[in-house]
Amino acid sequence: MNVLVCVKRVPLTGGKIVLTEDERAISTRHLGFTVSPHEECGAEEAVRLVEALGGSSVVLTLGPPEAEEQLRDMMAIGVDRGIHLLTDGSEWDPQATAAAIVSAVRGEPDAFDLILFGNESADAGNYQVAIRVARFLGLPCVTGVKAISVEGSDVRCEQEVAGGRDVYVVPMPAVVTVKEGLNLPRYPSVPGRLRAKRKPVAAVTPERSPSRLEMVRLVLPPGSGKQVEVLGNGPEAAPAVVGVLEGLGLV
């Protein structure tokens, strides 16, 4: 069972987003980085599948040299090796991203049985790279998956919908996009972190096709304009809180 998981380096935004001067990115001077939450579950799933069924797991990212940090993070929880599609740090649109991933996948000596993505990236939220990759490779694609089980040469996927779960069974190789809640990702151990430092990362600089979804600038949405009413400090505020709840007909 060979599993590929694709991840994206994104800033840990905290409470308030500040833009860079050119308004084309989030100012990250005071921020750390992570992978999108859905993708962290994808990496955990890749590791669990290989632990249960044998084979190997690979993590791929398209991003600046610093994104090696995210590859090492995923290898620290057990992914075997990394593929780094190097960029200058500017944003690639979904079509260019998908094309670069497809050519990396085609260049691999062994085919992947399963290619995992997050359902959407935390930052851009374009909802399409996995579907484009699946189309290029001629593979079936199931999205928004919260449970995966391998049944012989098929993969069974459960997708959360209002009132229940929709079940898909598709033949492998397949592309599956996952959502947080699929599993609870483990924390990397210290030995895991040390092992990750020695795991191989293949870095290549892919050719970039022109952007057809071309970001012009980012805009902070207008604030809530709300004026907060301080009801009090500590437990003494309880009667004022109950006053508010009474106003809503709850008490």
Partner: protein, 284 residues
């Protein structure tokens, strides 16, 4: 002509997409798949056939899971760009769009090259169409990826997404056991218990309780957030709440910038005091 894929003639997000399309083009044509079993790539192929016959200038769908999935397939088949979750757009060559990023914490202005423009409408970008709509039912070709069965989930109590009152705890709760006071207040108010991502990552609560960009989006009458700092990841899930009461010991916590009511204090003291006060008021 604007071609709109609707999930159903009474689906709220689909009705929003219809209203959005009418703001762009006088000629709006609706297509759906009726009661057919969901098959994203198959449905997309049927829509692509419509596009090839009708030559619309724009192809729209609601910014729902299925709307985004089907439009992504449509754009992949046509080898066109796809702008997901737009709040406004102007057709042209290139088209210009404003679209949602970071679950609504940030907007992006972008140019989209190539016609027709394939896009989805961000939830609540516009009010839903109020008249009865009529959609032509398409038949999709067979595809190997289709829903095999639906497993119904039986949930006890009020569902987080539909609850009128949600009481949530964050990192400030400190432990799984610490949620007892949150559960008590939620029960007194007939509401649901929620939590932040920090809590689910720590394993204190199941992911089904998470309110946030990668959790559940809620829209209660009042949201009571206890020991939650207000990271953008969390706020993306609760911005639909009509009122927000935040309880936090740090007067500088960013959640207070979005709150209607604030209590500065430790939830472990404040929340039980509120529960006691409710019982007193009810005489129980």
């Amino acid at each position: 002509m604007a071609l709109v894929f609707v999930e159903g003639v009474d689906d709220e997000l689909s009705l929003q997409a219809v209203a959005f399309a009418r703001g762009i083009d006088d000629d709006v044509q609706l297509v759906s798949f009726g009661e057919a079993v969901y098959a994203p790539a198959g449905w997309a192929r049927a829509i692509v056939q419509e596009i090839e016959q009708g030559t619309p200038s724009i192809v729209l769908a609601p910014g729902s899971d299925r709307g985004n999935e089907v439009m992504a397939h449509v754009s992949a088949i046509l080898d066109r760009p796809f702008a997901a979750n737009c709040t406004s757009l102007t057709i042209g060559e290139p088209a210009s769009v404003t679209r949602v990023r970071w679950g609504g914490s940030l907007l992006e202005e972008a140019l989209v090259h190539g016609s027709p423009l394939v896009a989805t409408v961000a939830p609540h970008a516009v009010a839903a169409a109020s008249d009865a709509i009529d959609a032509r039912t398409l038949t999709a070709p067979e595809d190997s990826v289709a829903v095999r069965e639906r497993v119904a989930t039986v949930s006890a109590g009020v569902s987080l997404a539909d609850a009128d009152v949600v009481v949530s705890g964050g990192r400030g709760v400190g432990s799984a056991e610490g949620f007892a006071v949150i559960e008590e207040l939620a029960e007194l108010l007939g509401g649901a218990v929620g939590c932040s991502r920090a809590v689910t990552s720590a394993g204190w609560r199941p992911h089904t309780d998470q309110v946030g960009q990668t959790g559940t989006k809620i829209s209660p009458e009042i949201y009571i957030a206890c020991g939650i700092s207000g990271a953008t990841q969390h706020m993306a899930g609760c911005k639909g709440a009509k009122k927000l009461l935040a309880i936090n010991p740090d007067a500088e916590a960013s959640i207070f910038a979005s709150a209607d009511y604030a209590v500065i204090g430790d939830l472990h003291q404040v929340v039980p005091a509120i529960s006691a006060e409710i019982r007193k008021a009810r005489g129980t």
